[in-house]
Structure formats: C-alpha cells, structure tokens
Symmetry: C2
Subunit: 425 residues, 2 copies
Amino acid sequence: MPKVSSQWLQSVLGKLYHGRAMTRSAIVRATSLNPASVSHALQFLLNRGVIFKMGTLRSTGGRRRDLLRLNAEVGFFVAVDLEGTRLRFALTNLVGDIRYRWAEDLDFGQPLKVDRIVNGISTVLGNLDSSERPRVLAVGLSYPGFIDGAGRITAINQGWHRMPLLAQLRKAVDLPVFLQQAGRNCILAERWLGVAKNSNNCIYLILGSGVGIGGFVDGKLLDGSNRMAGEFGHITIDPDAKDRCNCGKRGCLEAIVSSPNIVRQYLAKMDSPGNGAASCSVAEVFAAARRRDSAAMEVLDRVCKCLGLALSHVAMLLNPELLVLGGDIAYGEDVFLPRLKEQVRRHIPAGFPHSFEIKLSSLGLDIGLKGAASFAFLNSLRDPALLGRICTPPFSGMHVTEMKLPARTRTKAAAKPASPAVTRD
Amino acid sequence: MPKVSSQWLQSVLGKLYHGRAMTRSAIVRATSLNPASVSHALQFLLNRGVIFKMGTLRSTGGRRRDLLRLNAEVGFFVAVDLEGTRLRFALTNLVGDIRYRWAEDLDFGQPLKVDRIVNGISTVLGNLDSSERPRVLAVGLSYPGFIDGAGRITAINQGWHRMPLLAQLRKAVDLPVFLQQAGRNCILAERWLGVAKNSNNCIYLILGSGVGIGGFVDGKLLDGSNRMAGEFGHITIDPDAKDRCNCGKRGCLEAIVSSPNIVRQYLAKMDSPGNGAASCSVAEVFAAARRRDSAAMEVLDRVCKCLGLALSHVAMLLNPELLVLGGDIAYGEDVFLPRLKEQVRRHIPAGFPHSFEIKLSSLGLDIGLKGAASFAFLNSLRDPALLGRICTPPFSGMHVTEMKLPARTRTKAAAKPASPAVTRD
C-alpha cells in the first residue's frame, strides 16, 4: 500500500467532520482529491478505527456504496467559553458532542483571573480515568475581544488589556491550546454544526453582555488584516446618543443593544436606574414587552431601530444570505424579531436583493463550547503531531462494527448492534 | 517532454501577470506547484513566445537565475467602462497597458443605449489592422449597479432596470464578453496594477456620480451571496436626513457624498439650487473650500462626517489595512482627506487597532478600463479556448529577445536591444 499523505488525511477527515456520514464518491467530490488517494486514505483510517462503515447505500442501479463516518470517540477536547456572563467548560468528543460540562459565575467588574481558567481545565481532565486521559488532544477556547500577534487579549468586559492568555495557558496546561475569538468561534460552530451548515455568506451576531459579529464571506471565515474583523459592537450607530460605552465612546451599538444596556435603559424609564442590572434581567424586559408594558416597548423599539440600521449596513456591504442571532435574544424571539426585521427592511432600497434570512442559533448556550471544540479539531488536523495522534487512537487496530441506520435512509443496514459501540474483534 | 497541464499554465501565467518579472523559483513559491511542473510550463511558454527572458539575476552565491516576463503583445483586450460621467473605451495589451482609448459623454437622465456600447467596441476593433485583429481575445466591461443571475443589470444612475446587457452584447459582439461590477473591478485593478498590490485586506471606495465599494477580504474578492456586496452608497448613514437618493430612500450615503450631491448641497447653500449640477462641478466646490469659502467648507464638513462614520463601520466590521479612494476626490485631496481621516478616527475606540491607511488611487480615470482588462485576462486564463489562444499567439515559434534591465536591479543584462521587441530568429 502506498504512503498515505497527511494532506489526504487532513482533507478526508475535515470533510467527514462536516458531512458526518459520506460515501467514498461524495468524499472524492468534496475533497477534489484523486479517487485513488481518497481510497488509500479511507483504508488507512478504517484499519485504524478512526472511521467506520455505518451502513451501505444501495443506489438505483443496484450498486452498493458504503456510508462512512468518523469514530467520534477517537479523541476528546477540553472546550472553554469565556464569552457571556458565565465561565463554561466541557469535555467533548471528536465531533463536538459534549460529554459533561459546567459553568461558574463570573464576577462582573472584576478582571477575570487566568487561574480560574486553568483550574477549570484541570477539573475537566481530573474527571477522566487513566485510560481516557491519553485521548484528550487539545484545549479549544473561545474568548471575547481581540488578540494581538503575541497572543495577548484585550477584552473590555473581562477587564483584560493585553492579557498574555496564550503564554500563561501554555505554561500551566500540558496540552496544545487553540484560542479563537468568540464571534468567529460561533459562526464556525453554526457552519459546522448548526443552522448555517450550507451557507457560504452568513453572519453570526452575538447579543449578550457584549455585541460582536463572526462572519463567513464567500465561503471563508472573516478575519481582517490583524484578525480583528467583526468588532461590530463598537461601531457608532447613533452619533448624537449620550449612551456611554465601556470602550469610552458614546453611541456605540453595544452601548444601546447589549443585554446590560437594554436593562439599564428599561430601569431608567422605570425611574429606578440606581438598582443596576442585577435587579432585572433582559428576559424580564422581554416579558414586560410581551405584556405591552410601554417602557419595555420603547426600549425594544430603540434597540431594534439601532440594531436594524446596523444590520442593514452589513447587508449592503457584505450581502449575506443568512444572519444567525445568538445569546439573550433567545428569551425574546417573539417580541424582538418582528420589530428587528421591520427595521432592517426599512433601510434596504426597494428592488435591491440585499435581504437576508434571520434565524436564531440552534446551538443555544452551548455554541461557544461547541465552536471551541470544532476549532480545536480543525487545528488538530493541521498539526502533524495531533493528526498523528488522531490517526493512532489508543484502541488502534480494534474493529468498529457497523450500525443500523434509521429506516428513512435508503440503505441496507448491517445486521449488527445499533450503537456505534467499540468492540474488540 | 510531458504534457503541460492547463492548470499549471493558468497558475504560472496568473502569477507572472501579478509579479511582472519573476525567477523560476519565485514562481514555484507563488504557485505552490511542484518545481518540475513549473519548469515544464515555463519551457512550453518560452517555446511559444508567450513569456520571455528579460535578463538574469546573479545571486550572492554567484548562481544565475533567469528573470521571466509575460510577453504583453501576445493578446489584446477591448476594455469598456460604464461607471462615471463618460463612456470609456480602450484597446489594451495582455497586461492592461492602454494602446489607445477614447471617451464619449453620457446624456444624464437618459437611459444608456446598448447600441452605443456595441458601436464603441466595433470602433476599437475597426482601428486594428488585419494582422492584429486575431490577437483580440475578449471584451472586459465594468458596469455600475448590480447584476442578476441572467446577466441583467440594474443601475439606477444609468436608467437600467434588469437590462439584459450580457445577452445583448453576446448577440452583437463576436468575442467573449466578461462583465464585472465597477467596485470589484476597481479593487481588482488596484490589487493587480495599483497601490493595493501587496494588500490582502483592502477596500476601494468610488466617489463620483455614484458611491460604491469593492473589497478584498482575507485575500479574496468580496462577492456576497448574490454578488451584490459593496452596495455601500445605499446604506442609510443619516436616518433623519431629508436628502433623497435616486434609489427612493432618504439619508443614503450616496445622497450626501456623491459628486452631484456635493454640488447640490453647495448650490443650495449659495441660494442657487435651481441652477442644477451642470452649472458647477465638484472640483469647483473643492476650490471654493481651498479659498475657505464657508458654504463649501460646511458642505465638505457634512460630507466628511457622513463618509467618515460610514468608513469607520467598514473598519470595525472588516478590519482592512488599506482604503483606496478613487474618482472625483482626486480634485480635492488637500481639502478633503485630512477632514475625512479625522472623522474616521473619531469613531474608532481608543486602543482598538482598527485604523487603516487611506491612499488615493494611482490609476486615476483609467482604473475602470485597466480593471476591465485585468478581469478579462483572469477570465481568459480560466477559459480553455482562450487559454489555448494565449498559448498559441499568431507569432508562436518566433523568438523574443532579452532586454536590458535598469541598472538598479542586480542583474546581468543580456547584450540585446532595450525594448521587448518581437523579432524573428
């Protein structure tokens, strides 16, 4: 058997991750590799238990084609999500399914300590038994804000200014660490695992304690000249507004539409600004609007006006086909989304085909963790040592049995146990 | 000699177009092809006179490396530019150098007739003698507005609504026709031939009778889901403004910062709105501002305020490193640019590295024509028939002599005539 190039493996594993279950010919089409290379790579991966045959498709001509799938238990990732109001950790398998997770509250107004992140990672690892520990490949981490060339992060809401996160984690954690900015992380998760799976021009908008964008533009993750694209929370959306942003400017989008600022405006209208955000959540503002409370409706009108205007700029500039909304918006889809759509529409000229679909994220609060795991997987494929480990799982040489397929797929299912259980020969 | 793949030729010719003069090893690096493939492709192209050796570089180690260059006379393009206040035509050589050109006035307020475009193309072709005519490969055309899947163009300022331009040109012109939207066309020209040559994240802003953007994002031409990205003239930049745009909305960026609208606002302040745009040009408004005329300065202040705000949104969203301004701004760089830069700066938060360089286009009014020719060349490489014609020039088999290099490059120039003249063996 000829040598299997790591480029073939990378390419085949990447497509199988995205496609989940694929035939050999679908993989050939997706990778643009030559069919012989794909066959060699697939045989290599099958021999080592990295992929398995999950059944057989029978085409109209009667030809049988094996349906192949990644063995999700080949490796694990530790996923960490720093975006939002809580600190989240999880152990995921190779394809981003969460095995266990937990979240800790963040102390707002206090800078986040790296020790807490390191402890969280250690706790995840401590939960594994000695046979599982070697299967952990890397840590994926989603951070808000932006990073410089030296891996130092500036994140206003976390109280970080050029925090050398990467260096500190590398010192404290005995695993490769991959950092991804939260907006990019979320759109990556939506593209790999969520509602944006088939979209080449899509935008993910985080609406939570912060506001940011991650985008796929013409099939490529939006990065920018120093990887700072998507800092959309800090566009000046209303130059005359008095709302002061944490960044120091006035009239930023985030200063008007982030969850704490929705609450702030609502409390101000209720004449109780002194109570602060802790006394009310954004879900309560949505609930008040649902009751047709005039203060809540006025606040949401202003929020949707500003956000709709901002999103119409994205539409005219980038012409996406899909916008995915994530974060606290989930609590108020009914009162928020129709208002927002109306405001976006107002600013797109009649006859211009710049409208886009707006969907809520299907990944909910797990999106940061799932994105971090996806990102770690993608980067592991590009790292020769990690690719080698993926292709040499601890149970390498074992045999993975075929599994029964749901009846609706046109397959001839193998008469073997239903779960993709790993069994010895 | 092994078969030369058209993918190798495409790749090598593309890189030579961009790099202008390159060594074999630089081409290998740039194409990521294997060195043997590059050598075969180069020998094939040298044999046919499509490229030539323009001299020899001597490296510090004393090794000689041939410097290779595209033979620009291998083929011609007809370039057409519909953007702006005049209709422009040119004949260019393979690398976009203009051999001859002319421009016709457009009748504003009247829909542009396709016959005028067809006649222009015929006149360009009629100017060639019978030995040159076969070398014309294709027509490249730059259009304002946007196109649908059937090649129908909607361009407000040209009075076109779903005008089937591609179909009409294909019927009337006996050459392949490649249409490119003006914004994309301009950034392409700046990337291939102008000031954005080394930039992977750059924006071209047209400021003229219309306003639009063409962008390179992470090294890729910005397209969008239905190829309508960059319609930046129609973002609502001031929701409270009364300025009505040709698109029907109020407060569009174009309704405030396009040349006719700069003139309109100036005349309104001078109490002579009835005179219309014809009585004054944007250059005169710039000249008045230079004399510190208060009406002109007020107008430019408003224009820069709106444009600066809009560009800061582009900065936060796309994080480009370079913005190239083209069009009528050339008449007022001194009075316009400092004001504009100040306004962009205001809206970028302190400490955020989202600033970008702003340069004026170096290609001036030829940018549309040069872009159209570049676009036609790029597309010709992807078209098997046209690639075949580029690789089989009428003088195929002739020998192209080496040329003397300017003294400042460290080369050993060949002792042959100075110009890249085509001579027989």
